[in-house]
């Protein structure tokens, strides 16, 4: 009996004790306990090691997420959060019917496109240039990252001055080439372009460095082979560099999309006193700002939570579409 237990324990299967069987001697029982502990150690320890992360994530990530979802089904006053009136999906249907939400969604999309697309294209070009062997390369690489290290508030304040319709430098420069006064503060497209400029300025260098790192991992012999085949610099860039760093490009596209969806600080600070409502006609109010306006100045936490969850769903949707496109591309390229 005792030996059979040990054998069972040793080969890893569950030890079986016959009910009502004779008492097992002390020594084998001890070793069975040890092996049980050993198996527990083997199976549970990895979970224990990563537990701190998951506990933190549960407390500071998952719980707020679920709690926000729960709040979004209620009417909650910011100043009196203990009182929660059940509203079901009312906050979501109301969102669907509110023009301001659609304006904010549209603005988030347009500002996202006019900031992300030029930003990534410029970053790609910049990375390509920085990849050349040239004097002061190290300094230039640090320099392109400087905007990223600047605080949003400081950068936005400077841009607000630059874009001042009456006394700003940009209109002054434009007037020299004969372009009339552009109202960067209050007209829809100019104000959105101005905000996109701030975003582009801040993030181009960051993305350029990510591209640069990827480009440096591209094997040199690919370029040599290409030039032997008579490919020009441009052809080398489009035919060798771009396909080689495709996963990195996809990564930056995803990260920039998330950033664009959550855009908040730049339009808030750009608008000054009317920043929260994104200008007098909400012309540059993003979803992030709309959520803040509902939750804080309007004190309607439930509706703000509904916007937050809607933003999450939009991101998941975009993520799914991007994954699909990436997968299709991969199969097209043959793995």
């Amino acid at each position: 009996m005792a030996t059979s237990i040990r054998a069972a324990a040793e080969d890893g299967s569950a030890p079986t004790t016959a009910p009502g069987g004779p008492r097992t001697p002390a020594a084998p029982q001890r070793s069975a306990w040890r092996s049980r502990l050993y198996r527990l150690d083997l199976k549970a320890s990895p979970y224990a090691y990563i537990a701190p992360f998951f506990l933190c994530f549960a407390a500071f990530g998952l719980f707020p997420l679920i709690w926000t979802g729960w709040l979004s089904l209620h009417r909650v006053d910011l100043l009196n959060q203990d009182v929660m009136d059940w509203r079901g999906t009312g906050n979501y249907t109301r969102l669907w019917e509110t023009d301001q939400f659609w304006t904010a969604l549209r603005n988030t999309f347009t500002i996202g496109v006019i900031s992300t697309v030029p930003q990534l294209l410029m970053a790609l070009g910049l990375a390509h240039l920085l990849n050349y062997r040239m004097r002061g390369r190290g300094f230039l690489r640090v320099a392109v990252l400087a905007p990223y290290a600047t605080s949003i508030a400081a950068a936005t304040l400077v841009f607000v001055q630059l874009f001042n319709p009456d006394y700003g430098m940009i209109n002054w420069l434009l007037s020299m080439v004969g372009i009339d006064r552009t109202d960067w503060y209050s007209d829809t497209w100019p104000s959105q372009i101005a905000i996109s400029t701030i975003v582009t300025w801040r993030w181009t260098g960051y993305n350029a460095l990510i591209y640069l790192a990827a480009m440096q991992a591209v094997p040199k012999d690919l370029y040599e082979a290409a030039s032997l085949d008579g490919a020009s610099r441009w052809q080398q860039f489009t035919k060798v560099t771009i396909p080689s760093i495709r996963p990195t490009i996809l990564f930056t596209v995803i990260v920039s999309t998330i950033g664009a969806t959550q855009l908040f600080g730049e339009p808030l600070l750009f608008g000054g006193g009317v920043g929260v409502s994104g200008g007098s006609a909400h012309q540059y109010q993003t979803l992030g700002l709309y959520m803040y306006e509902l939750g804080w100045p309007s004190r309607q936490l439930g509706r703000a939570s509904a916007v937050a969850w809607t933003m999450l769903l939009i991101l998941l949707l975009i993520g799914a579409v991007q994954t699909l496109i990436a997968r299709r591309n991969r199969t097209k390229l043959g793995g």
């Binding site: 224990a48 933190c56 100043l79 959060q81 109202d183 503060y185 006193g273 007098s280 309007s298």
Partner: protein
């Protein structure tokens, strides 16, 4: 091999579990630490720091009052935390009140939000009526009534009131062929705010290039509305702005000013409004007493002596504020004493002579220093006399909890939209109603 590794792994496992649970525990308990010290008053002589949160220009620092108080109370250090924009200040303050953290010991509240402070937020502030030196009867009756809750607690001590006049630039008026003497100027628009718009058209016809008659149609709206006895709310505090004759009239004045292009279309208290002062972009600004401080600050040396003050079309009040002491503060007793001192007639008079915020106490208004005050920046203009005489004829209108919210939407999303984008006024008004409904009906 197995035997040596086992205890070590077990130890690691145990440590990990303990560490992670400790992390959770501390994370949970840290938020509960606050609030325990509520109401704890410090022993005499203990060094404490009092913070004062306000917006715009309250003038305490400018008038040297903080230094004076600190010299008299060596154990107290005063720190000021000033936000320029009143709306942003209030948004932050409500958030801080909700969470009970991030509050200053003294918090200023603007009259547009005082009904909300005495209503929904009433139990977040201490009752100051028992504070030594505080007598609710010292203020103008309507002023202290505004800061009293339904239960009778006085939660705010009046700082200033905003009797209104019109500040104008003599140099621009002269260039546009308008009179420059203040009594002559007042005759241009005496009696009705719509006459002010007419005077504006007259100015605009011969206006110096690049200048406008007034700064903002929203400012005009606030001015015209404040002369009305019915504003946003009725006597019970219920929101009636949609049918209010006062709101309708003020809206029409603002719209006609915007459509006649006599307004520079700026949003007040914003950077480009500030810089427009220095660049002499507009000839008039509706001017409650506290506005004189802003004018001298932003018009700077180049505008000194060029501004004058004329009587308004109709006497009215715009703005003014209160000092409150949130219950979440650590030094409520000391803070209340400081608030009482800052709002006493003598100190109010000092602030007035320095930055132009007119006293809200009856004694303060009658002090000779106030009556005969002249602001250096405005030359020989008898500012004290102009504002103090207007103060007497102010008819207070009922206020409600949502007044400030509605005002912000009408001025920032309604009138400013018309000014910036030429939106059709009917459409802009419909939009205002929609936004107010959305915001008020949580």
């Amino acid at each position: 091999m197995r035997t040596t590794s086992r205890p070590r792994r077990a130890a690691v496992l145990a440590t990990a579990v303990i560490a992670s649970s400790a992390l959770l525990l501390t994370a949970c308990s840290s938020s509960g630490d606050k609030g325990g010290s509520d109401g704890a008053s410090s022993a005499a002589g203990e060094k404490i720091t009092l913070t004062v949160g306000d917006f715009g220009t309250f003038g305490y620092k400018e008038a040297g009052l903080y230094d004076e108080y600190m010299a008299a109370h060596p154990n107290i250090t005063i720190k000021a935390d000033t936000t320029q924009d009143g709306q942003k200040y209030w948004d932050a303050l409500t958030t801080h009140l909700a969470s009970g953290s991030g509050l200053s010991d003294i918090q200023a509240v603007e009259v547009g939000y005082i009904a909300q402070a005495t209503g929904t937020l009433g139990d977040k502030f201490t009752d100051l009526s028992k504070t030594e030196g505080v007598n609710a009867g010292a203020w103008l009756p309507w002023k202290s009534k505004q800061a009293t809750t339904a239960k009778g607690a006085l939660i705010g001590l009046g700082t200033d009131i905003g009797p209104m006049a019109v500040c104008y630039r003599k140099d621009l008026f002269q260039q546009a062929g308008l009179p420059t003497d203040r009594t002559e100027v007042a005759k241009l628009w005496a009696g009705d705010w719509s006459k002010f718009v007419d005077a504006g058209k007259q100015y605009q016809a011969k206006a110096p290039a690049g200048t406008f008659f007034t700064d903002s149609a929203s400012g005009l709206f606030n001015a015209a509305l404040s002369a009305e006895t019915q504003q946003y709310s009725d006597d019970s505090g219920k929101l009636v702005y949609k049918d209010s004759a006062g709101v309708k009239k003020a809206w029409n004045v603002a719209v006609s000013a915007s459509q006649a292009k006599i307004s520079a279309g700026l949003r007040q208290f914003q950077d480009n409004w500030n810089s427009a002062f220095a660049n002499a972009k507009f000839a008039t600004v509706v001017c409650p007493s506290w506005m004189t401080g802003i004018i001298s600050k932003y018009s700077g040396d180049s505008g000194k002596g060029k501004w004058d003050i004329a009587a308004p079309p109709v006497a009215s009040n715009w703005g003014g504020a209160f000092l409150t002491v949130p219950k979440a503060g650590k030094h409520q007793k000391e803070a209340a004493a400081l608030a009482a001192w800052l709002t006493a007639p003598e100190q109010q008079a000092k602030v007035f002579t320095k930055v132009g915020n007119l006293p809200s106490t009856t004694a303060g208004l009658e002090l000779p220093t106030v009556q005969s005050a002249k602001l250096d920046y405005f030359g020989d203009t008898p500012t004290g006399q102009i504002f103090a005489s207007t103060a007497k004829s102010i008819q207070p209108a009922p206020i409600g909890e949502q007044d400030g919210t509605v005002k912000t939407i009408i001025t920032d999303n309604g009138i400013l939209d018309i000014e910036e984008h030429g939106t059709d006024p009917a459409k802009a008004w419909a939009n205002v109603e929609k936004l107010v409904d959305d915001k008020v009906n949580g």
